[in-house]
Amino acid sequence: MIPEIGHFALILALCVAVVQGILPIYGAAVGNSALMAVAKPAARGQFLLVLTAFCCLGYAFAEKDFSVLYVAATSNSQLPLHYRLAAIWGAHEGSLLLWTFILSLWMFAVTLFSAHLPDATRSRILGVMGLVSVGFLLFMLTVSNPFERLIPAALDGRDLNPLLQDPGMVIHPPMLYMGYVGFSVAFAFAIAALLGGNLDAAWARWSRPWTTVAWCFLTVGIAMGSGWAYYELGWGGWWFWDPVENASFMPWLAGTALVHSLAVTDKRGGFKVWTVLLAIMAFSLSLLGTFLVRSGVLTSVHAFATDPKRGLFILAFLAVVIGGSLALYAWRAPRVGLGGSFAMVSREGMLLANNVLLVAAMGSVLLGTLYPLFLDALDLGKISVGPPYFDSVFVPLMVPAIFLMGIGPLAQWKKASLPDLAKRLQWAFGVSVVTALALPVVMRNWTPLLSLGLLLAIWIVTTAVVTLRERLTHVNGNTLVERLASVPKSYWGMLVAHCGIAVFIVGVTMVKGFETEKDVRMNVGETATIGDYTFRFDGAQDVVGPNYTAARGTFSVSRDGRETTVLYPEKRRYTVQNQVMTEAAIDPGLLRDLYVSLGEPLNEGAWSVRLYHKPFVDWIWGGCFIMALGGVLAISDRRYRIAWRRQEPAVPASTRTARRKVA
């Protein structure tokens, strides 16, 4: 019964979405306020319906209703409750429901925080989001129904993929989807502005906080996915340039470019056409990612089970949504005004140059991801494009971007002078170069890449210090604290986010330069030393988990004779799928991670063991969280808060209609 309610709620949601996608947009086009007024209740209604469906599926999982095909396929009676709930997005159908649910959540948020928007704009935004929702609901109801019954019911479920039975997996997909789908708001704003022909500074101001929020979620989502790969896959890597990883990284790159481009459109009215295109691109790439993950056109560790019918559906949907918006763009963009003038050397110019670099980087990732497919489609052979390729093209594109990142915030709007900038940045540059050259020598492992990485990281930090110092001379306040407090939050946000990149770069550089690993054969009582730490293997015991049995090794770690920690890596066998998983044990630390994973049991209680010493590895994810924190600071700025604080004014409907007519 409950699953049928969920299914029915989805059907109703589809009907509402169709109404929401058509009437308000039409209403906005003909100036009919009654039709436009449909948008808000429709969006809220749709949210409630999809929420209902989502809860129904959650209930089916909680109650172990194995007469639902999806529940039977992705969970098991032995699976703990929190993983059963996370199993909602453990496979294709349910994760699609999560997508749709988050889309309706964003729509709901738009209805809450859009009181300040002109009615026509708000109607168009919600209408566009409604249309996107139509596609996803239709997709679910036709070829990916999560509520499909299994008759007769299975006695027990086939269990959730053991790889996904991990706390990181409980929150990683929702975060990631909040980011992906969050770009739909910026997209809807852009399409609404193109439809209405009012691409102006106000449009940029409105889009900015939404874009930044989505960007923060995406940043955190990607970081969590990478962290999950690091500790769950058991080989200590954190990024593999896998098609699915790239699918999340491309919208991030486009989104990062968008965040910066919006800043210029907001402040100076420039780049409107470009900003709109980026907004379309960021969301289009999110949709493309969905296609790549679910259609089976590329092989990936993370891809969902595939079905060509599904692939065809998403492709058609992709063609309509993206093709339609790009056609609209081609039609409307030529009429958009140019905005303020500026010289090539100016903050605008540098932001644009950075945009070009970010988009070129995004294009390269896209090229590398799809190239095997291109060749195969043209029957020119099969190739693999992997980390060596991406590393060698991505780094050269990012180096100038990061260099510019240091200069940009110091350059004046409209026109800046290079000699002046050089003078202001000379000590930052000097300090960076000297430290970057000296540090690796001190650490006794000089490589060009190590120095380059450190150079970039220190450059970001030193230029941020210069920027802040200059800024402090321009703000009011007698004491330093007062002056620090009067620097706008959005400015802090930028500095913090940039420093997050520096932290990230330090992490990547140090891990690449100094990580050590050892594959050893350890008898009980034997020790192995890696990076000043001595690991003593104290044997392995059998343990029994809720839905697995495992061998758990005990490793006492000591440094200079003092015990640091005890680590318990496991080798688990998940009984239902009979799958063996390596659960690495990690002792995280600010300056290093110690990582132990069990290989295979050898004779007489001995095990093959892999040990890693990974200096600064947590800085990689720390950097991402700092970036997201910067984004949060930026949106907490007073200028944006206005948009967030203001609620629907309590004005009778009649006067509102009257006002609209005046407007």
């Binding site: 896998d242 980087a361 494009v385």
Partner: protein, 153 residues
């Protein structure tokens, strides 16, 4: 005194304590294997390197590579051996040839196009734009719009 005995016990006693042996007989060869294997693709896996995969075929291929290393074959010879059998698909670093030229130069062509387009657009723009940027007046209007919210008429 007690402590001395303890130390003596610790030093002499546990015969089992010792440094663990590396898994590989020849750590130098193993390092070279690893260096090679991280750029090679495991054929049966979804998308994993030969170094990371536990698939039986990956193990066989690692054994094969180990033997070639033991025979003192060069990296190129080893890679050629694999390419002759499985094609370019095994290489995570696609070789530069006619069909992959676009792949390798693409990113930099993209950058060039982007940079040229940027410079040209900015030049053209400089001629077209009469400086009517977002004025302070307009900024105030935006602020006002935002601040007034629904009360605007």
């Amino acid at each position: 005194m007690k402590r001395l005995i303890l130390i003596a016990l610790l030093l002499s006693g546990p015969a089992w304590a010792g440094e663990a042996r590396p898994l590989a007989d020849d750590p130098a060869a193993e390092a070279r294997l690893k260096h090679l294997a991280v750029e090679l693709r495991c054929l049966v896996c979804q998308n994993q390197t030969l170094a990371d995969s536990n698939a039986p075929l990956a193990e066989d291929l690692r054994r094969e590579v180990r033997e070639m290393i033991a025979k003192d074959m060069s990296d190129k010879e080893i890679i050629d051996f694999l390419v002759a059998r499985y094609g370019d698909f095994v290489l995570y670093r696609p070789p530069l040839k006619a069909t992959t030229t676009l792949l390798w130069v693409g990113p930099f062509v993209l950058l060039m196009i982007g940079a040229t387009a940027l410079i040209m657009t900015l030049r053209r723009r400089a001629h077209q734009v009469v400086d009517v940027p977002v004025t302070d007046e307009e900024h105030r209007r935006v602020e006002q719009l935002l601040a007034e919210g629904g009360k605007r008429s």
